[in-house]
């Protein structure tokens, strides 16, 4: 891919070839590439902004250059399309398309349009235009990366899986090491047994001299006692090991879940929204269990089994190298077989994880929207939907497990072929009196000892695949960088409540801006009402003030400090919010109220409830403040939940208060109770309120009307009402008419 320096040099070359009547070459103020022609076909152009006008030069066909003098351009605008944008110019009274780009270049089109507008309005001289080339291509590796991302994921050095896992289990390394020592002790004891057996068989049971046998009968008892003692010690060691392992395993799961949950909490609203609830639940619960089992059980077992194999193989080779070769001969063939199946099943395990996550998401959605399911009678549809999800999961699991079910017994058989060969050769050696029966018994026991770990190893690729998928899914979230992150020197200070929004641009996705060039200023203690049609960006504006998202351009300052320089905790702990829909957590009314201030006293909580006109209805509940409201608080009405939210905000005692449709969908009587509560809450605080019901904003000291993504009107109620044909005026008139019709209908019905 071409570098920026090379591109600029090629633009200069284009301009130097163009000379005006006096033989003077034009110069570029800035330039950027565009990648589509007017028919949306791929074609590389250079868009060049010069003091005289705009050039669009083809970089594929030399000499194909268009020029538009600023004297002809009356205006400019941007037209967005899927994944891109086009710049249109108003030339001689007619709009025409100037350039078109998709991908990261659309950012530059947006800048060009802004600069052109300022030039057309006469507020900017072309030669003074300041343009910052924006590219979402990493300057190091030249690979595209997310807009606004500060680090290129490709170039970011991430710790390897082993290091990540070691980091996790390091605090428990002593205990894990101890379990391994205990296992080795156990394995050592298992090796001692065949040796005692050999002594028993060769020295006592099959001895040539019967006198010796009789005289040593008392010694035989001691040999048997020694064997029993070894067994008892082995059982005790095994018990101790299991107890330690289970504790280590639980600790690891808890630690892993803590890290995962902590990072989920650090992510921005947009970051969390990228995952479904089912997906996150799957990562937090199932995947962490898989990793923990891998780390605390399978991985130590792997090391242990390897040591056993090495140790027993050494003994086998020590006693009879030829027979040891026969015993171990099938092992490489089995390893090769697993290598082949591993590659194929890796993809299947990944798909199994995704299928599992999808079925969890379906379940989560249905439980969340259970009322809608019942109301619309769509139980059958939901059953079919879940059936489809779990069938997909089943099909992948069956394919996966069937492959293993076929391979494992077969590989087991292949491994044991060595045993048959051993019996054949050992039989011959005994007949030739080159080997004793005791030696065969010992050898046979050692072979059994080595086949156990070899069989276990055969299953290990499957464990690794499951663990590998779980590790990648869990660490994907643990290592996800928050979109909205605190800067290293983020400030924390008590807010006074002055808010300045300066020329902000923002869009939730790359394709469309929700707000364009919005500016407003609110003084401490002032009440700003935001008015506008649905979807015009009112809630987006307050989300940006709370810094749930970062602006794409422009800045929001609180008390003169950019919100991006204020610690998120410090900022949000001083902002109170009352939303249209109040979410109540599972718990009591008291717990829900104290959520805003966990150390609040009973008196403080009740005082807040009284101010919010909530105390009276709470006291009518069977258990007063201890009434369990359940998930989402279904037992409370909308108005009651709203008053709990206001009480929460009062307890929170914020410097800045945000009300987003706080009184919509309430009956007149409830609304007046809430209005009264809100008036108490807003006193002496900077308040920003969004309301469709304009009566809610009667206390507003300033009104902001948003329309077509930007500020359409600003002023007091009186000033805006004086604007004939204004948006606010027409909204107020329309609402008055609606109220009149409503009143007349009520009166008519009353008669």
């Amino acid at each position: 891919m071409e570098s920026r320096v090379d591109f600029e040099a090629s633009c200069e070359k284009i301009l130097s070839s163009l000379r005006d009547g006096e033989g003077l070459a034009d110069r570029a103020v800035f330039a950027f590439p565009s990648n589509l022609d007017r028919k949306a076909e791929r074609h590389e152009f250079a868009v060049i902004f010069s003091p005289k006008g705009l050039y669009r030069a083809s970089r594929e066909r030399e000499g194909e250059i268009e020029f538009f003098s600023f004297s002809r351009i009356a205006n400019a605008r941007m037209e967005s399309f899927l994944g891109g944008a086009a710049c249109e110019l108003l030339l001689d009274g007619e709009w025409m398309e100037f350039c078109r780009s998709f991908g990261s270049e659309k950012e530059n089109i947006s800048q060009l349009v802004r600069i052109l507008k300022e030039v057309c309005d006469g507020v900017l001289r072309p030669e003074e235009a300041r343009f910052v080339y924006r590219s979402s291509v990493c300057p190091t590796c030249r690979r595209p990366m997310r807009r606004g991302a500060t680090r290129c994921p490709w170039c970011t050095e991430k710790r390897g899986a082993v290091k990540k896992l070691w980091d996790l289990i390091r605090p428990m390394r002593f205990w894990i090491l101890l379990t391994m020592v205990l296992f080795l002790l156990n394995s050592g004891l298992s090796v001692v047994l065949p040796m005692i057996q050999r002594t028993l068989v060769d020295d006592y049971l099959t001895a040539d001299d019967p006198v010796t046998v009789l005289s040593s009968f008392s010694q035989v008892i001691w040999v048997v006692v020694a064997m029993a003692a070894v067994r008892v010690v082995a059982v005790l060691v095994s018990m101790l090991r299991n107890v330690i392992l289970s504790r280590v395993s639980i600790k690891t799961v808890v630690e892993l879940r803590r890290r995962l949950y902590e990072n989920i909490q650090r992510l921005s609203v947009a970051g969390i929204s990228r995952h479904t609830a089912g997906d996150l639940m799957n990562r937090v619960s199932a995947s962490t269990n898989t990793i923990s089992a891998f780390l605390t059980q399978h991985l130590p077992s792997l090391l242990e089994q390897c040591l056993v194999i090495v140790f027993v193989a050494f003994l086998l080779f020590y006693h009879s190298p030829i027979m040891a070769v026969f015993v171990l001969l099938p092992a490489p063939f089995v390893a090769l077989m697993y290598r082949l199946i591993w590659k194929r099943n890796k993809k299947l395990y990944h798909r199994q994880w995704v299928a599992n996550s999808v079925s969890n998401t379906v379940l989560h959605d249905v439980f969340q929207g259970v009322r809608e399911v019942k109301v619309y009678g769509t139980e059958k549809y939901e059953i079919e939907k879940y059936d489809k999800a779990i069938n997909e999961q089943k099909n992948i699991s069956v394919r996966n497990e069937t492959a293993w079910a076929k391979v494992v017994p077969f590989s087991d058989f292949v491994i044991q072929i060595g045993h048959f060969i051993l019996l054949y050769f050992a039989g011959n050696l005994i007949l030739d009196q080159q080997m004793t029966i005791g030696e065969l018994t010992m050898f046979s026991s050692l072979v059994d000892l080595i086949y156990g770990p070899l069989r276990w190893m055969a299953n290990f690729p499957r464990i690794i695949q499951q663990a590998g998928t779980a590790i990648s899914k869990v660490y994907e979230v643990i290592e996800e960088e928050p979109d909205v992150a605190d800067r290293s020197n983020a400030a924390s200070f008590p807010l006074r409540g002055k808010i300045e929004v300066e020329g902000i641009w923002f869009g939730y996705d790359e394709n469309e801006n929700v707000l364009e060039n919005v500016s407003v200023s609110v003084s401490p203690g002032e009440f700003l009402g935001i008015v506008g049609r649905s979807g015009v960006g009112k809630s987006t504006l307050i989300n940006l003030i709370m810094r749930l998202y970062d602006v794409d351009r422009g800045a929001i300052r609180i008390d003169g400090v950019d919100v991006r320089d204020i610690s998120q905790h410090a900022l949000r702990s001083q902002i109170g919010v009352v939303l249209q829909e109040t979410f109540l957590f599972s718990g009591t009314v008291y717990e829900n109220l104290a959520y805003a201030k966990p150390d609040a006293t009973y008196d403080e909580v009740m005082e807040a409830a009284r101010l919010a006109n909530a105390h009276a209805f709470i006291m009518k509940l069977p258990d007063g403040y201890n009434t369990f409201v359940g998930e989402k608080g279904y037992t409370l009405s909308g108005g009651e939940r709203q008053r709990i939210a206001i009480a929460r905000a009062i307890l929170h005692d914020p410097r800045i208060l945000i009300l987003d449709e706080a009184t919509s969908a309430l009956d007149t009587e409830t609304e007046s109770l809430i209005q009264e509560a809100l008036a108490r809450l807003c006193k002496d605080r900077t308040t920003i309120a969004i309301a469709h019901r304009l009566s809610t904003l009667r206390n507003a000291t300033k009104l902001l009307v948003l329309d077509k993504k930007t500020v359409a009107e600003e002023g007091t109620h009186e000033e805006l009402m004086a604007k004939d044909g204004g948006i606010y005026q027409s909204l107020v008139i329309a609402q008055r008419e609606m109220n009149t019709i409503h009143r007349e209908t009520e009166e008519k019905d009353g008669k």
Binding site: K39, A40, F81, L82, E94, M96, F102, S104, K106, E480
Partner: protein, 170 residues
């Protein structure tokens, strides 16, 4: 159709009989729709971009107010249909991926090098499982970090090597 709403929906339907589309001197789409008292620039928007690419096309003014709905491009003569098709292509610019030359996953992103109807393309996709839109069993859309969309018209039609690369994410 909802009872009593027939008049409203019927009045919105645009055909070759009541609407005339053309490109102006600057190559921008214009329409003359006497029933909506409109003559000038129009914009098109698909109601079901994944399922009906030539049906249910909303015709809008510069202010994005709907003037009417084209039920199907078949309601227009071939020349107008082709004009509207070209305009839709501009609005829903979506290269069609023919071959996946390289697909590498690294740190939660996938890096694609593909051959498309628009030539060679390289793009990055974040969280690939969430960035694949399955329009049907055989047809998918891939959305990259810039919000650009790429279409695989037929998964079954992909060559074996391309399929092996993408199979993991399907």
């Amino acid at each position: 159709m909802i009872k009593g709403m027939e008049m409203i929906t019927a009045s919105l339907r645009l055909t070759g009989e009541n609407a005339c589309f053309a490109l102006n001197a600057n190559g921008l789409l214009t329409a003359s729709i006497p029933a909506a008292e409109h003559r000038g620039r129009v914009f098109l928007s698909l109601a079901f971009p994944f399922e009906r690419e030539e049906e249910y096309i909303s015709v809008q003014t510069e202010e994005k107010d709907e003037l009417g709905m084209i039920r199907s491009l078949e309601d227009f003569d071939a020349e107008t249909a082709s004009l509207l098709r070209a305009e839709l292509k501009k609005k829903y610019f979506c290269p069609k991926l023919r071959k996946i030359l390289k697909l590498v996953e690294r740190n939660g992103n996938t890096y694609w090098d593909c051959l498309s109807d628009q030539g060679d393309l390289s793009f990055t996709v974040r969280d690939v499982h969430r960035s694949l839109i399955r329009a049907s069993e055989d047809r998918i859309f891939v959305v990259d970090v810039d919000g650009c969309r790429y279409e695989i018209e037929s998964i079954a039609g992909l060559d074996r090597k391309s399929l092996a690369k993408i199979e993991l994410y399907l």
